[in-house]
């Protein structure tokens, strides 16, 4: 049971959070300008590294704030 550091509520059990996957994937400014391939990348393709991973979490059972952190996907250590 990981401790996830919520910026507002402090560290809480992971079971209070909703996982949001890779951070920093922006909604395309102009979807129409994208080819189907490019649109598919936005829809379905996310990084899946073995090691440090910047990812999003939402404190769904608490303040409902979204935030991102870097976690090592092998050790589960929160790096920053």
């Amino acid at each position: 049971m990981m401790l996830i550091p919520c910026p507002w509520c402090g560290p809480r059990d992971e079971s209070e959070f909703h996982y949001g996957g890779q951070a920093g994937v922006a909604y395309p400014a102009d979807p129409d300008a994208l080819s189907d391939e490019e649109w598919a990348r936005y829809l379905f393709f996310r990084d899946n590294p073995k090691g440090p991973f910047r990812e999003r979490w939402s404190h769904s059972a608490g303040c409902r704030r979204w935030f991102s952190l870097v976690r090592d996907t092998v050790t589960n250590e929160v790096l920053r």
Binding site: C9, R12, S15, E16, A61, G62, C63
Partner: protein, 155 residues
């Protein structure tokens, strides 16, 4: 005109019986019909609530984002007051956060889950107030009555 009904109005007797059964180790009662106003704004620094009159209050804080919102959520949650000599042990059976007085002081509050139900836990002088979504109130009451069995006499 028929009176109002609070989420745990029908459970009052069952909740009252807990104190007797546990010899005061656990006390529990609903605090119904509290006014609750959800205010959305992001002040920087202190926030104060000023009473301007019998029916008027003012939330004051040096605000970064002026735009706010106030929503009446009085009936969204009801309040369950739990106390007694073993209240910390009782809550520890269903709540994962640390409520030790060194960490969670009088006046502190936390939004978390208790018995898998979303709650706001607020530490008062002699007891905890649990603000629980009205639809979960009956579940929480049942859970507390069950958990309190651990503290009932008979051993």
């Amino acid at each position: 005109m028929a009176e109002r009904n609070s989420p745990l109005g029908g459970a009052a007797d069952r909740l009252a019986a807990v104190a007797a059964a546990t010899g005061g180790a656990v006390t529990v009662a609903e605090v119904p019909f509290l006014t609750q106003l959800n205010v959305r704004t992001r002040p920087s620094g202190d926030v104060n609530v000023l009473q301007l009159g019998p029916d008027e209050w003012l939330v004051v804080g040096s605000s970064a984002s002026a735009v706010g919102a106030a929503v009446d959520v009085s009936a969204q949650r009801t309040t369950v007051a739990v106390g007694g000599s073993r209240v910390l042990d009782l809550l520890a059976m269903g709540c994962a956060i640390d409520l030790h007085p060194r960490v969670f002081r009088v006046g502190d509050c936390a939004q978390t889950t208790l018995a898998h139900a979303p709650v706001i836990i607020w530490r008062r002088e002699t007891e905890f107030w649990i603000l629980v979504r009205s639809s979960f109130a009956a579940h929480l009451a049942d859970w507390i009555v069950d958990a309190a069995q651990e503290f009932t006499a008979g051993d």
